[in-house]
Structure formats: C-alpha cells, structure tokens
Assembly symmetry: C3
Homo-oligomer: 369 residues x 3
Amino acid sequence: MLSSPPVRLGELVSAVTALSARELPASLTCDVLGSEDLPIRRLGTLSDESDGVLSFVANPRYRKHLSSSRAVAVFCAPALVDALPTGCVAVVTPEPYLAYALASQWWSARAVPDALTAASSSSSVHPSACVDPGAHLAAGVEIGPMVVIERGARIGAGVRLGAFCFIGAGAEIGADCILHPHVTVSERCVMGSRGIVHSGAVIGADGFGFAPEPLSGRWIKIAQLGAVRLGEDVEIGANTCIDRGALDDTVIGNGVKLDNLVQIGHNVQIGDHTAMAGSVGVAGSAVIGAHCTFGGGAIVLGHLTVADRVHVSAASVVTKSISTPGHYSGFFPIDDNASWERNAVSLRQLDALRRRVKALEAAALNTGG
Amino acid sequence: MLSSPPVRLGELVSAVTALSARELPASLTCDVLGSEDLPIRRLGTLSDESDGVLSFVANPRYRKHLSSSRAVAVFCAPALVDALPTGCVAVVTPEPYLAYALASQWWSARAVPDALTAASSSSSVHPSACVDPGAHLAAGVEIGPMVVIERGARIGAGVRLGAFCFIGAGAEIGADCILHPHVTVSERCVMGSRGIVHSGAVIGADGFGFAPEPLSGRWIKIAQLGAVRLGEDVEIGANTCIDRGALDDTVIGNGVKLDNLVQIGHNVQIGDHTAMAGSVGVAGSAVIGAHCTFGGGAIVLGHLTVADRVHVSAASVVTKSISTPGHYSGFFPIDDNASWERNAVSLRQLDALRRRVKALEAAALNTGG
Amino acid sequence: MLSSPPVRLGELVSAVTALSARELPASLTCDVLGSEDLPIRRLGTLSDESDGVLSFVANPRYRKHLSSSRAVAVFCAPALVDALPTGCVAVVTPEPYLAYALASQWWSARAVPDALTAASSSSSVHPSACVDPGAHLAAGVEIGPMVVIERGARIGAGVRLGAFCFIGAGAEIGADCILHPHVTVSERCVMGSRGIVHSGAVIGADGFGFAPEPLSGRWIKIAQLGAVRLGEDVEIGANTCIDRGALDDTVIGNGVKLDNLVQIGHNVQIGDHTAMAGSVGVAGSAVIGAHCTFGGGAIVLGHLTVADRVHVSAASVVTKSISTPGHYSGFFPIDDNASWERNAVSLRQLDALRRRVKALEAAALNTGG
C-alpha cells in the first residue's frame, strides 16, 4: 500500500531519538543491536509477512510469536532480545510501545503522502471556503474546501481544517490543530494547541437543559449560555459530542483523549490525560479526575465526582461519586442465553433469597443452641 | 465573555412576566423583594463570583449555599427568601427553575450576540446555498452558507438553517425551526413548528430492515417507504438519528426532547413531552407514551409498548412492555473490580444457589418435622 | 403520500419473479390465487386502511389480523391462505417476508419519485462539487451538490454521492454504491460494490491508539497507518463509525449490515452477512464471525474472537471469546425501581451469600451425620 522509497533503520532511529523535546521523553533511548542498514519499507505487526517490516513487541506474552516473525527489525525490551529470530535487528528500549508510537508518527509524516500533519508555513484557503471577513486566520493555516468560518473566529498558526468544517462565531482554534472533514465547533468554543478532532464531532451543541412546567408537563428550554473549552493536545473521536455549558463552560483538560461516539454533557469537567473509549456517556455537571480511563459504553451519571486515577470497566454505570483511585466494574456477565435467563429470573428474587438464607441461619442457630 | 451593556433587573423581570402567552405559564409570577435597579450583567450559578450575577435556587438543599453567594439577585421560592444574603434581591416565584429557564431564553435572545434565535422578517439566503427552484421558502427565513434544499421542500416562515444543512426532496420544516449546522432532514420528512435540531442529527435515514434469505443467510434490504414526522416544539440533540418508517411513518410527538446520540428506530412512536437523555436507543416499532423520561444509555427493545409517565433509569433495558406508570431500573451496581468479579462469578450460579437454598429449606422442614 | 399511478399486481408479481438472478433466490416463486388485475396503490401493513394495499404476513402469529385486513393482496405462506378475507388476493410463497422485501425494492425504484436508486448511464456532476482533477470517475456516476472528492480517489460506475459527501485521497467507491448526504470516506478506504452508506457515517477515522508515557501519564498518539475495507453489499447506518487500522486494515465482510451509531474500532474484522443493531460497539482488533447478529447496544471487548453464527442479545457485553455458535445474553433484568434497588443491594453481597449457603450446607451435613 505504501509505495514511498525505503528508509534506513539508522535514519529512522536517529529520527526517533531526534524528535522534538516535547515529543520525546528524555528517558527513551534505543540501542540498535544489529545492522543499521536494513531498509524499512513498512511498519507492521510481528505476523506481517511483507518485506522490510519494522515491528514492535510490547508485551512479554508475545515472546512466542517472535521466533516466527519475518520482521527485519523490532522495538523490544532488553529481556526479549534473545527471542528475536536470527538476523532480525533489535531496537532495544525499556518502552517499546512508546518507541513504536513515536516511530509511527514519524513514519506517517514522511512516508504516508496524504497524512494530515502540520501545514507548511504558507497559508492556503480553498476558493470554495466561506470565511467571514471578521474572522482572523494566523499564518500557515490550511483551509479545505467548503469550510465555513464565522465572524470573530480565530484560527491559530498551522491549523488544518478539513472539508465542511464549521467554526462558529468567536470560536478559537489553537495552533497546529487538525480538524478532519465535517467537524462542527460552535460559537465561542475554544480549542487548545495541537488538538485533533475527527469527522462528525460536534463541539458546543446546546446542553440538554429544560425546566418542567408543573401543570402541563411541557419542557421549557434553558438557554445554554456557556461554551466548551478544550485543553492542549486533546483528541476527539468521530461523531463525539461535547455540549456547551448552561451558565459556565464545559471544560476538557490537557491531553484528554475521547474515542468515537462519546457523549459529554454540559458543564462536565474532565481532568488532564483522562481517556474514554467509544460510546462512553458522561451526564451533565459530572467532574472527572485526571489520568482516569473509561471502557467502551461506560456511563457516568450527572453531578458526580470521580477522583484522579479511577479506571472504569466497559459498560459500567457510575451512579455515585468515587473518591478512591482504583478499578471499578459493574455489568452483568454474559452467558449462554438459557443460563442467563435462569439466573436473571433468580436475580429478580435475590433479596427474597437473601432473607430466606437469613431465616435458615436463624433456624440453624436455634437448632444448634 | 458577554460584553453587552448591563440590563436592569426591573427590565428583566418585566420582560419575564411579559413574555408571550405561549412561553409564559399563567401561573408564573415573580415578586421582587428589594431594589429593581440592580444592573444584571450575567446569568450565573450561586457560586459565580462575577459582578452583577442573576442566579436561581431551585432545590431547598442548596439553602446552605445562599448565604455566601455574591449574586445580586436570585430567583427563589418563598421559603428561601430569608436565607439570601443581605442586599441580594429576591425574585420570588413558586417555580424558580422555570423562571430561570424563561429568563435564560430572554437573556440569550437579547444579550448573546451570536445566539441562533428567531430570524428577522426579511429573508436571507447565503449565495453559496444551493436551493432547488422547485423548493418553497416562506418569508423571513435565514438560509446559511452551503445549505442544500432539494425540489419540493417547504421551509416555513422564520426558519433558520445553519451551514451545511440538507433538506431532502419534499421535506417540510415548520415555522420558526432552528437547524444548526450539518443537520440532515431526508426526503419527505416533516418537522412541526419551533423545532430545534442540533448539528449532525440525521432525520430520516433508512430504518434497519432486512429479510434473511434462508439458504444463503444474505440480508435482503426492505425499502423504507415511510418518513419521519416530528411534532411541534421538538428538540433533537447532536448526532441523534431518527429513522424513517418501513411502510408507515416514524412519529415523534409534540414537545419531545431527545439528547445527543440517541437512536430512534423505524416506526417508533413517542408520545408528547417525553424526554430521552444521551445515547438512548429505541428499537423499531416501539410505542412510547407521553411524559416519559429515559436516562442516558437506556434501551427499549422493538415492538414494545411503554405507558405514559414511565421513567426508566439510565442504562436500563426495557425488554417487555410496561403498562403501569412508575420508575423502572435494571443495571448492575458498580463496585470495586475485585468485589464485582466475585459477585459476577456467583451470579452465574445464582439459579443453582436458589435451588440449594430450596433444598436446605426442605431439609430444615424435614428436620423440624 | 405516493401519487404515482397504480400498478397492477400482475405486473408487480412478474416484476418480482423477473428480478435479476442476483436479487432473486431461485427458490422464491409466488403463486397468485385470485385476480391479477387488482390495482396496487401502496405497500402497507395489514392494518393499513388505505385503498389498494399490497401487504404481507410473515409470522403465523398474525393470522388473527388477516380477517380484518383491507389489503387487496397479501404475500403469505401456503398455510395462511385460508385465513385471508374474501376477495383478497393471496400471493403465495414459502418466504413471504423475503418476497415483500424484494417487492419493496421494486416499489421504491418505480413508485417513489425521489428514491436514491441506481443512477442512469449518463454521469452528472453538480457544478458546486469539488472534484480533484486527479480523481477518477467511472461512467454513470451522479455526484451531488457540495461533494468533495480528493486526488486519486476512484468512483465506480453507477455510484451516487449525496450532498456534502467527502471522499478522501486514494479512496475507492465500488460500482453502484449509494452514499447519502454527509458521508465521510477517509483516505485510502475501499468500499465494495452495491454498498449503501447513510448520512453522517464516518469510514476511516483514526483508530483510538495511544501509548502511555510512563512517568507523565501523557498519551502518545500512534499514527493509524491502515485503512478500512468494506466488502460488497455492505450497508452502514447513519452516524456509524468504522475506524481505520493501526497497521493493517479494518475489514468488513460481504453483506454486513450495521445499523446507526455503531462503533467499530481499528483492526476489527467482521465476517460475511453479520448484522449489528443500533449503538453496538466493537473494540479494537476483535474478530467477529460470519452470520452473527448483535442486538442494540451490545459491546464486544477488544482482541476477542467470536465464532460464526453467534447471536448476542441487546445490551450484552462480550468479555471473552466465544467459540460455539449460539445465543448469548447478559444484562440486568429491568424491574420496578424499588425491587431493583433491593436486589441490587443484595447482589453486591452475593458472593458472601453464596458462602453463607455453603456454611449452612456444611452444618446440615454435620447435623445429618
């Protein structure tokens, strides 16, 4: 699939170790055991049978797959070097997965011709784009076809906006952000630098706020006067929604990563470097800590507080605040349908069963006494 | 953030009490205890430390937050007037949350320069919009950039269509609807007056209907010949999907409010003033009553009937029809992961446990006899 | 709603039986019992009171509804012919639902004037579309308004692209595909022939891949170098997301049907003719078999394998690989809230309860011995 000329591992590794200080943790260094002159044609998995694959092994469990790999070079931890097949170059690092991540960025920027990466220093605005004269575009932006930018919006240096992006009045897109096609950033919302937003994401739709009219039961809309503020290095998945606040803003911390189809309600706060997998939902005014992770489909109810370093399993429902770091779960274990049905029926009588056991215990105590 | 000139509380309150008859319930009146001349600069929460905040307190539980509030005026119930700090104006009403909702609409329309509210009486069609000559636009519409309106579509008076909206052939958008950027309304779908649709919502995609071919297992598509009909005052969240019917229409009642990322299957019917939070899913042909509420991530299976005034908790799965109003729940309680694992393992043997208890009871009976 | 001239049943049935060999299973034949000259004006349900309804009955449970139907003709199985009301024409087939599906396609193509069906042999490209000179358009394509097609993309014969579709660089859209408005197909992704994609779907956003930086907890992005490959006859629902692979491609088999708001993670593989209902989520690298079905909101965790012909109930979480065909379930049964609360509390002590029962059994054994 990739038809660019091969690069040499030496060049690759020097590039990895020479990445900018922001990108490269000081602790990450790679030692190359073997020839540095092998041509790398592709990043791939250990089982990729293509020629010239640079691969990685991050988990010691995969040791057994190493001997049969056709990779020409592998990022690996020191303990796995001896498991590599003969002739395979070891690129040794205590953090092979991290090294692979950095290498993949490097590869994407240089070897994938159509990758959406940092724009050049000269700006380009597609003639079909509709940019309000009252919007401000910094240097080096790349504005794709059919983009709409409203009055007062500010587009930072190096930003790339894909086709059909909508930037509302007064919104601000920080430097070096990449917005893929079909992204909506509503009025007055703010993105920090180096953010990435995937197609179909909606940042700044109205929060879901209504006051019930007591007699009629009609819902009276509460105007959503706040906005959304995203920190730096935030990545937002496809068709994910982050609602604007009712009075204050919805606030997403630095380095937060949200997968696709995630729903973030109004006035939610998410701490730095928290990650949420696909289809997670966070209801309004929940306050989520830093360095948390949420598995796919997890739900957080409104107005709760979740501490830093809390990890919630997929499909689990956070119904009360969590103040202690740790791993939390709550979903019904899957089973063959007949077994599930039997257990589900019994579950609906569980409290009664518990009382029956209590009665048996009391009776046994009496009998024993 | 808001730089408009301050408004006086007297003006605000008179505006609130002077809103149109449709907006303002006759029962809602506010008594102002204190000076009516305080300048209001912002609607805010009780803890907002900005100058000139008009706030509200809807829940008696928040009484304790009142004394430390810097708000200059507060919508509150009569019972909370004595808890306000000295100098703070009480705007007294039996329905402070409702009053706040109405005030927020008023504020948004007058003080937020870029709010999408009712269009002026003169129409505007952005030159980049693509409007079929066979479409009909009523007076006072505002058609944003890059909008596409197909033949036979009818756009009611005062409608505002944001950028990139698509209105399919023969669709009808009722008067005073607001469609935010990137909304799709497919052919022949109908929206009642005063609807609001947020970005990315898709109204009228094909329902999910296929007939299995017995031998091959291939799925043969069933053409979806119906449409979607939305009542008046309906609000649809970002990236929410409402599918068109297979034969008859999918029908959403008046005043229904759907949050973001909600999925409504084909031929669903939803009664008036029902509200569904984010990521709810309703499978095909379900019939939902009026004045129901569904928590985030709840699921309703297909072909079921749910009565009026049924309230379903978040993440609960409605697997059978519900004929009695009430509050229904069904999700696994979250726990620390180790506890959850132990209980989940036991849960898979629950029916066996129930039978063991039954045997113990029988034995105890024999022993006792 | 449909104002096209009536068609005659004879014409309809001959059309059904004369559909192309690809569309019509050889085993499907219809016998018409009654006049073939009844004018059909509408496909409808058995309870549709319109004039000239052609209906169907697929489930013997609906026998009781037949006698009161006003339909002029009904697709039905031989065993139900005697239940039809007098004068109603029986279109007899062992597979009435399949016959109805085929008839609905035929009806849509001929009687619904705005149906998106196969384009004519001459191409049309809307003047507002933005097609890169380096893109390749086959014969007979229909490119809607505001469409963007990037360099190197290939659009197959007979393809219809709705308004605002985005086809990225090097992507390939197979012959006779229909993409509704607002679809995103990212760079290098490939769709097989006869695919249908509904509005807002995003094919080829980046997979959710990050390496944690050990000390800082920052997430380092892993460039997503793979693409998405869809087989033939695939249908993708509105706002559904299928992520591109990290190294290899995400692969969706022939005949797969995904409903709305489905999330497919990177490097997932889905076998032929598997169907997933709304809001399903499949995490990265899961391998799903052929002929599977997933109920709405079901979740499959990452790196699992699911065998062919596995059927997962709605809202169930697949947490381990499934190697045996069958029906699997796992969700908390819904109950009135008070009962649910009692049982949920007991559930959190279930393992302790199990141990208490064990102790009782041991005590009973001692007593008995």
